[in-house]
C-alpha cells in the first residue's frame, strides 16, 4: 500500500514536471520568450505610454564603441514601479550620421505609438525590455474606439496565458483583450503576489 502511494506520487510528480517543461519548450531563436507571470514578476517598471521622440548617439563602454537609441515615452499609467511623466529607455542599436548598428530582435517604435512596456535594468542591459521585443505590447484602437493589445508578432493578445508560448490555442471567435483588461491582469497578478 505504501509502495503504491509512493509510486503514484512519483508518477504525478513526473507528469507535473513533464507538462511544466513541455509548456515552456518554445523559445525565441535569440531570446527565451517570457510568460506573462515572468514579465510581471521580473519587471522593475511596467507602464502604459506613448512614444514621443527618439535619438541615437555613440557610446563607449570600456573602449567598446556602440550606438544606442534613446526612446522617450509620455507615461499615461504606471502599473508597477515608479516613473516620471516622461520615461526614456535606452536600446542598443540605431543610426548616427552614415553609420547604422542593427541588432537582431531589438524592438522598434513608431512615433505616437501607444504601448504597454515591461522594463528591467534600463540603461544597463542591451534592451531595457524583458526578452527584447517580448516586453513590448502595442495598443491599437478598433472602429469602436476600444483599445486592444497586440504582441510583437502582430497577433492580438486573447489570453495572458498565451504570452511566451510558441503559439496561441484555437483562436477563432475570440475577442482581443482591451488595454484595461490587460493592465487589470497585471494589477491582479501584483496584488496576488503581495498577499
Amino acid at each position: 500500500m505504501i509502495c503504491q502511494t509512493i509510486s503514484r506520487r512519483w508518477i504525478y510528480f513526473c507528469l507535473i514536471v513533464f507538462f511544466t517543461l513541455s509548456a515552456g519548450r518554445g523559445f525565441g531563436a535569440t531570446v527565451i520568450a517570457p510568460s506573462f507571470d515572468q514579465l510581471v514578476e521580473s519587471a522593475d517598471l511596467i507602464f502604459t505610454g506613448q512614444t514621443r521622440s527618439q535619438r541615437s548617439e555613440w557610446r563607449n563602454i570600456g573602449g567598446q564603441k556602440s550606438i544606442v537609441t534613446l526612446v522617450s515615452f509620455r507615461v499615461s499609467a504606471v502599473h508597477k514601479g515608479r516613473a516620471d511623466s516622461v520615461v526614456t529607455l535606452q536600446f542598443l542599436g540605431g543610426a548616427v550620421g552614415d553609420v547604422t548598428l542593427d541588432v537582431s530582435d531589438m524592438p522598434k517604435f513608431r512615433k505616437g505609438e501607444r504601448v504597454v512596456l515591461f522594463v528591467q535594468k534600463n540603461g544597463a542591459n542591451a534592451s531595457p525590455l524583458i526578452g527584447f521585443y517580448h516586453g513590448k505590447f502595442s495598443l491599437q484602437s478598433d472602429a469602436t474606439g476600444r483599445e486592444t493589445v497586440w504582441k510583437h508578432d502582430g497577433e492580438a493578445v486573447m489570453d495572458v496565458l498565451e504570452i511566451g508560448r510558441s503559439k496561441p490555442t484555437a483562436r477563432s471567435a475570440r475577442v482581443p483583450l482591451s488595454n484595461e483588461e490587460f493592465t487589470g491582469k497585471v494589477r491582479e497578478h501584483l496584488s496576488r503576489s503581495r498577499e
Binding site: 517543461l21 519548450r25 542599436g93 547604422t100 541588432v103 542591451a126 508560448r165
Partner: protein, 369 residues
C-alpha cells in the same frame, strides 16, 4: 505586351508558401565574394563533450556556415580563427560573452547578431552567444535542459546574411528563421528561397501553371520567359488570371497562395502554380481559413465563411493535403490534439448543384514542421 504562358502540369507539386522576410530591404546584403567569419567560440568557452560527437564549439559554427554555403554562390562564408578581435576590421566575430559592446545581454537572451552599416554598405557584424547558457549540439527535437548551439547559429548566420523572422511579419511558414526555435534543425525551403531572393544564383527557373478545373480560365504573363521557358533568378514577373465566360477566379494555389487576379512572383525556384476558378452559381468563399502555428497536443480550429444560394442544398468537405478529412462536413473544422502528422494544408470544398469552390489552403505548422 502580354503573352499567354503555356499551361503545363496539372499535378500539384509539393505545396509551399513563399514568405521569407529580410532584416531590411535593399542595401544590407553583402557584396559578391567572401563573408569572413572569425570563429572565437573555442577561445571564449571551455570545450565539452557534445551530443553530436563534435570536438569543439568552432566545429559547430563551421557546420552551420557550411549549411548556408551549400545554398549560396553569389557570396560564401569563410571561417578563420584570429585572436585579434575588434571593430572596424571587416571581420564578423562569433564568440561567447555575457555582453554586447559592454551592454549586458540579460538573462533571457541566447544570442544576438549585429550588423554595422556605413551608408548603404554593409561592413561587419558580430554574433554574440550568451556564455551563461548551457549549450550542446543536437539533432531533431529540441532538448529540455541544454540549448542547441548548432540550430541557433544557423539562425543567427541567417541574420548575418540579411534574413529576418518570417513569423514576425505574420507569415506562417516552416523556416529555421522563424523567431521560435522548434524541432526543425536545418534549413527549410522558405529559408532557401529567402537567401536566393537576397543573393540570386546564376540560374533560371520555370514557372508552370495549371488551371483548375481545366478550361475554366487562362493566365497571362506581363514579361515573357527566355527561349527555354525560364525566368532569371531574382526577376519579378507579373501574371494575370482571366476566367472564361460563366467562371470566376478564386485564388492562386500550388507554390503560391494568394487571392486577387494579379500575381507578382519573385523568381527563386521552379514553381508549379495553380489557378483556381469556379462556376458562377457555385458557393463563394467570403472569408478564407487562416494559417496557424501549433504545438503537439493543441486543439486547432479552421473556419471559412461561405455564401451560397438558399434555393439549393450546399455540401461541405474539408481536405488535408488534398485528401478528405473524415466527418469534416461543415464550415468549421476542429482538430483536437494535433501532432506532426496534422501538419500540412487544409482547404474547404463547398459545392451545390451549380458547381464547387475550394477555399484558399491554410497551412498548419506543428512543432516547426
Amino acid at each position: 505586351m502580354t503573352r499567354l504562358v503555356s499551361l503545363l502540369l496539372l499535378v500539384a507539386a509539393p505545396l509551399a508558401i513563399s514568405a521569407y522576410d529580410f532584416v531590411t530591404t535593399k542595401g544590407l546584403r553583402w557584396p559578391a565574394g567572401e563573408i569572413p567569419m572569425n570563429l572565437q567560440l573555442d577561445a571564449t568557452r571551455d570545450s565539452q563533450f557534445l551530443s553530436d560527437g563534435k570536438a569543439s564549439w568552432n566545429e559547430v559554427a563551421e557546420e552551420a556556415l557550411a549549411i548556408w554555403n551549400s545554398e549560396l554562390s553569389y557570396v560564401q562564408f569563410t571561417s578563420f580563427t584570429s585572436s585579434q578581435r575588434g571593430d572596424g576590421n571587416g571581420h564578423n566575430e562569433v564568440f561567447f560573452s555575457t555582453n554586447a559592446y559592454g551592454h549586458p545581454l540579460g538573462d533571457r537572451v541566447l544570442a544576438i547578431t549585429t550588423a554595422w552599416k556605413i551608408g548603404s554598405e554593409r561592413v561587419e557584424g558580430d554574433t554574440i552567444v550568451n556564455s551563461d547558457v548551457a549549450w550542446d549540439s543536437l539533432r531533431g527535437p529540441i532538448g529540455f535542459f541544454d540549448f542547441d548551439l548548432r540550430r541557433v547559429l544557423i539562425h543567427e548566420f541567417g541574420h548575418t546574411l540579411g534574413l529576418d523572422h518570417p513569423d514576425e511579419a505574420r507569415q506562417v511558414v516552416v523556416a529555421v528563421m522563424n523567431s521560435i526555435v522548434s524541432d526543425l534543425d536545418t534549413l527549410a525551403l522558405d529559408d532557401i528561397h529567402g537567401v536566393r531572393a537576397l543573393y540570386p544564383p546564376d540560374a533560371a527557373y520555370a514557372l508552370n501553371f495549371s488551371i483548375v478545373p481545366p478550361g475554366s480560365g487562362s493566365v497571362f504573363a506581363k514579361a515573357p520567359p527566355d527561349i527555354n521557358g525560364r525566368y532569371p533568378a531574382g526577376s519579378l514577373v507579373t501574371f494575370l488570371a482571366k476566367p472564361q465566360r460563366r467562371f470566376r477566379f478564386n485564388f492562386w494555389g500550388g507554390d503560391e497562395n494568394r487571392t486577387g487576379g494579379k500575381l507578382v512572383v519573385l523568381v527563386v525556384d521552379d514553381e508549379n502554380i495553380t489557378l483556381n476558378f469556379s462556376t458562377n452559381g457555385a458557393p463563394v468563399i467570403r472569408a478564407q481559413p487562416r494559417h496557424q502555428i501549433a504545438s503537439t497536443g493543441d486543439t486547432i480550429m479552421f473556419s471559412a465563411r461561405v455564401s451560397t444560394s438558399r434555393k439549393m442544398p450546399s455540401f461541405y468537405q474539408w481536405q488535408h493535403d488534398g485528401n478528405d478529412v473524415p466527418n469534416a462536413t461543415n464550415t468549421t473544422l476542429v482538430l483536437p490534439f494535433v501532432g506532426h502528422e496534422s501538419s500540412g494544408l487544409y482547404s474547404l470544398r463547398a459545392s451545390n448543384a451549380r458547381g464547387e469552390t475550394f477555399s484558399k489552403p491554410a497551412r498548419l505548422v506543428v512543432d516547426g514542421h
